[in-house]
């Protein structure tokens, strides 16, 4: 019995996923439990295994397609089985906004709501690329708004001619090279020589390649872009900087090391900040509809930089965990994040975030709050500083902390007092056991 493979729902809040890569080809045998495809969500990329064995009969959702959770993306079945029933009605575009075929094909620009996903047949995509048509502008008339080859052709036929006058040859060359005829300087009609001159001028300016390159954002980048902008819009944030005398933290880390317990400063910060957060519930809350939701637990998010972005897994109940537990968990989270196997739940439910740029020598920055949290602590580099202590000039290791807080709920004095408390705890680590 053939089985429809659906876009998995990897977390409670996941509504759609992008097929990053198919690891099997159509017609290939698949064993149950074998990696089948990679899915990209706004949080991470996961490898999904085949739920059962058979032949991968049909790939419904091509690589790059964004599909609503639980919509069909492929069919696994026996070689000769009739799978037509399974294929029809699958792969609904996630947006749910199915553009109606426009009554007037000459006005196609309004056909697709902004932000909705483009679902197109491979042939349509290829044709659009050849014709130099932006497929996002083509109204789809196939099932669920899927763009067919015919749609691309009729769009091209209906599209108003280029405003720039160009010879047929020049138009073909420009289309082939992906050049915008608008950008080519010409006396009147753009001729092939104008394009060659333009390219030559470009080549003279920069020896290799075009001066600009347009690349589509991947799922993670889109998610970061969306989330950061949203945070910027939602939270009126203020950043506070305070220097911490790290003499004792340093000594304590040495002591632990001598006792065979290796911890990082980030581990220590998670422990100390979690403690402070239990004392400052306003820094450990979220805001929803004019309501403040206080969290009676600390899920400490720690930003992990990846090659192509970053993720923020969190240490659940960090306030209740020992330093060694925190350390082990953080290490595992970071490794999982880098290997792309972070469970979705570890990316959700954070209450506060720590982000460390100290390894790059950063002395101060203003991190952006990881919504729906209300504050984030930026950790800067540790360096020896000349300070006056007890009337003496001394040299001590100092580290700046940069706290960004949401002024909707965290007033300056509260933020300052919290930061002050973190400083006190870290400069007097014995207080952690108090």
């Amino acid at each position: 019995m053939a089985k429809l493979i659906v876009m998995p729902k990897l977390g409670l809040t996941m509504t759609e996923g992008t097929i990053a890569k198919w690891l099997k080809k159509e017609g290939e045998d698949v064993q149950a439990g074998e990696p089948l495809f990679e899915v990209e969500t706004d949080k991470l990329t996961n490898t999904i295994e085949a739920p059962e064995g058979g032949v991968l009969r049909k790939i419904i959702a091509e690589e790059g397609a964004t599909i609503a959770c639980l919509s069909g993306i492929a069919v696994i079945g026996a070689p000769q089985e009739d799978i037509s029933a399974l294929i029809s009605g699958s792969a609904a575009p996630s947006s749910g906004e199915v553009p109606a075929a426009p009554a007037d094909p000459a006005a196609p620009a309004a056909a697709r709501p902004a932000g909705s996903r483009v679902v197109a047949s491979p042939a349509a995509k290829k044709l659009a690329a050849e014709m130099g048509v932006d497929i996002a502008l083509v109204p789809g008339t196939g099932p669920n708004g899927r763009i067919t080859e015919g749609d691309v052709k009729s769009y091209r036929a209906a599209a108003p001619g280029p405003e720039v006058k160009a010879s047929p040859l020049a138009a073909k060359i420009a289309g082939d090279l992906g050049l915008d005829l608008d950008t080519i300087p010409a006396k009147g009609r753009v001729m092939a020589q104008d394009i060659l001159n333009h390219l030559e001028a470009g080549a003279a300016g920069q020896a290799a390649g075009p001066r600009e390159e347009t690349v589509n954002m991947n799922g993670m980048r889109k998610a970061i872009a969306k989330n950061m902008l949203a945070s910027h819009m939602i939270s009126p944030s203020v950043t506070f900087n305070l220097g911490i005398d790290m003499t004792r933290m340093k000594a304590m880390r040495e002591e632990l090391k001598n006792a065979g317990i290796q911890v990082s400063y980030t581990d220590l910060l998670v422990k100390f900040v979690a403690k402070a957060l239990t004392e400052f519930p306003l820094l450990n809350c979220s805001v929803e509809d004019n309501k403040i939701i206080y969290k009676r637990y600390v899920n400490m998010g720690v930003a992990v930089a990846l090659d192509n972005g970053l993720v923020v897994p969190n240490v659940t109940d960090a306030d209740k965990k020992s330093l060694t537990e925190i350390s082990a968990e953080l290490r595992e989270l970071a490794a999982a994040a880098r290997e792309g196997r972070l469970p979705m739940d570890k990316l959700k439910g954070g209450t506060f975030t720590i982000t460390n740029l100290g390894m790059y020598g950063i002395e101060s920055f203003s991190p952006i709050i990881n919504q729906p949290e209300v504050a984030i602590l930026g950790v800067n580099t540790m360096a020896d500083r000349v300070v006056a202590a007890g009337g003496e000039i001394t040299v001590r290791p100092y580290m700046n902390l940069s706290l960004t807080a949401d002024h909707r709920v965290v007033d300056g004095s509260v933020a300052a007092q919290f930061l002050q408390r973190v400083k006190t705890l870290m400069e007097h680590p014995a207080l952690i056991i108090a």
């Binding site: 010879s167 047929p168 040859l169 020049a170 073909k172 060359i173 082939d176 001729m191 092939a192």
Partner: protein, 470 residues
């Protein structure tokens, strides 16, 4: 001797009243210049008096004669057809006179002052013509060319020797004519006299006739000419000429050994050389290179403000090229900065069938390493050509492999010299096969063959089986 300044307005002096010169004079006048044109002989130059037009007049007479005597196949039997050579020549002279009178009228209408006399430079911007000394801010040299007579022993002295000018005005149709040089002039005049009954032999030094034309179609034309009775020898070199009481003997070194021909007349059509010697260019400091005036892209000589066009600069020795250069030089003299682009200059041979080409030949593209594809359409598959009895012609389109841009069009067909204008425009507009194929061509015309050849290049000709793609 009086010294005259041409005008207080921008002044342009044009040397030579041929197709380049008179066009330059009219264009400069249109742009507001005060124009003087110096001509040593007749207005209209070689083209109207000793070249294009008289040749076409004779060709037309010969064509009608041939049609009249050779149309039994299409149901026309005519008796007592004869050639009144005097009238043929009279018609030629009449056509020439009508045209040159027309040009004179045009010059007058445009306010161009025509000075009779041979212009000789006396300084960079001064010229002596007869007893007048003329000066102008800008000078356009359009002094034309004359037939070249090579130094073949006995040739120049032979009573049979004719250059193209003399060949146009013979007082009778010779019994036999040997043509030295199988270029356009030799083939066209050879055709005229062959049609009028002369035994015509063409001797060409190169492996092929018509050096500017597409070799494949040239080969087709050659078979046609040979089938009509023209004797053609290529890779053949005339070694000596000798007048004897039994006619003039011409010794020719052929690939298969030396041959001797006897002919009443010899037409020497091996090329033309620019008329530079009488101009005294050195007194003006105008540089000369390989027998032609050296010009830049703007047709300006080494002396700023002095231009040279047409056969004087040797860029392309064709009347229509000279006319195009005339307009450009006049505009540049009046402040423009136009460049002469020979890409759309067609080459035409007015024989039967007519032969015309524009753009690149396959050989030129190969030499430049440009990838191309070819579409061919034979005239035997074209209804109108068939009606007119042309079954041996062909239209050949050469287009870029990647984009299908028209790179060259070569036509051997009825009225090819008119059809070629579409191809030249296509090249000028950078059209691709698509645009030619998308244009509806009138039926029944020979132009359909042009469209079909574009289709053939894409393997989708309708009226011939297409070659299967490998």
């Amino acid at each position: 001797m009086t010294k005259e300044a041409i005008s207080s307005n921008p002044s342009v002096l044009v040397i030579g009243g041929g197709p380049g010169g008179y066009v330059a004079a009219i264009r400069a006048a249109q742009l507001g210049a005060s124009v003087t044109l110096v001509e040593k002989a007749e207005i209209g130059g070689t083209c109207l008096n000793r070249g294009c037009m008289p040749t076409k007049a004779l060709l037309h007479s010969s064509e009608v004669y041939e049609a009249a005597t050779g149309s039994a196949g299409i149901g026309i039997r005519a008796n007592d057809i004869s050639v009144d050579w005097e009238a043929v020549q009279g018609n030629r002279a009449k056509v020439t006179k009508t045209l040159t009178d027309g040009v004179r009228a045009l010059l007058r209408a445009n306010g161009v002052t025509v000075v009779a006399g041979e212009a000789v430079f006396t300084g960079p911007k001064t010229v002596k013509a007869g007893d007048r000394e003329l000066t102008a801010e800008k000078i356009i040299i359009a002094a034309g060319s004359q037939p070249l007579i090579p130094g073949i022993p006995g040739l120049r002295e032979s009573r049979a020797c004719l250059d193209s000018t003399a060949c146009l005005t013979l007082d009778h149709i010779p019994e036999s004519l040997l043509v030295i040089g199988g270029g356009v002039i030799g083939i066209e005049l050879g055709c005229v006299y062959r049609r009028f009954g002369a035994q015509v032999t063409v001797v060409e030094m190169l492996p092929k006739l018509l050096p500017l034309m597409d070799p494949e179609l040239t080969a087709l034309l050659r078979s046609k000419l040979e089938s009509e009775g023209m004797e053609i020898h290529t890779e053949a070199q005339v070694t000596s000429v000798e007048d004897t009481p039994n006619g003039t003997k011409i010794r020719v070194k052929c690939p298969d050994g030396e041959k001797t021909f006897t002919a009443e007349k010899i037409l020497v059509s091996v090329g033309r050389s620019a008329n530079l010697a009488p101009l005294g260019l050195d007194r003006a400091g105008i540089a000369v290179e390989n027998g032609f005036v050296k010009t830049n892209d703007f047709l300006e000589t080494s002396v700023p403000g002095v231009y040279a066009i047409g056969d004087s600069n040797g860029k392309l020795m064709l009347a229509h090229a000279a006319m195009a250069m005339g307009e450009i030089a006049a505009e540049n003299a009046m402040g423009a900065a136009r460049i002469f682009d020979p890409a759309t200059s067609p080459s035409c041979v007015y024989v039967g069938p007519e032969f015309a080409g524009v753009g690149y030949t396959e050989e030129q593209l190969k030499a430049r390493g440009i990838e191309y594809k070819v579409g061919r359409f034979p005239t035997r598959a074209n209804g109108r050509s068939l009606v007119e009895g042309c079954t041996e012609g062909m239209v050949k389109i050469i287009a870029g492999t990647k984009y299908g841009e028209i790179l060259g069009v070569h036509i051997l067909a009825p009225r090819a010299t008119d059809l070629i204008a579409e191809a030249a425009l296509a090249i000028r507009l950078e059209a691709t096969l698509e645009e030619l194929a998308d244009t509806i061509h009138c039926h029944p015309t020979v132009t359909e063959a042009v469209r079909e050849s574009a289709l053939a290049a894409e393997g989708r000709a309708i009226h011939i089986p297409n070659r299967r793609k490998a």
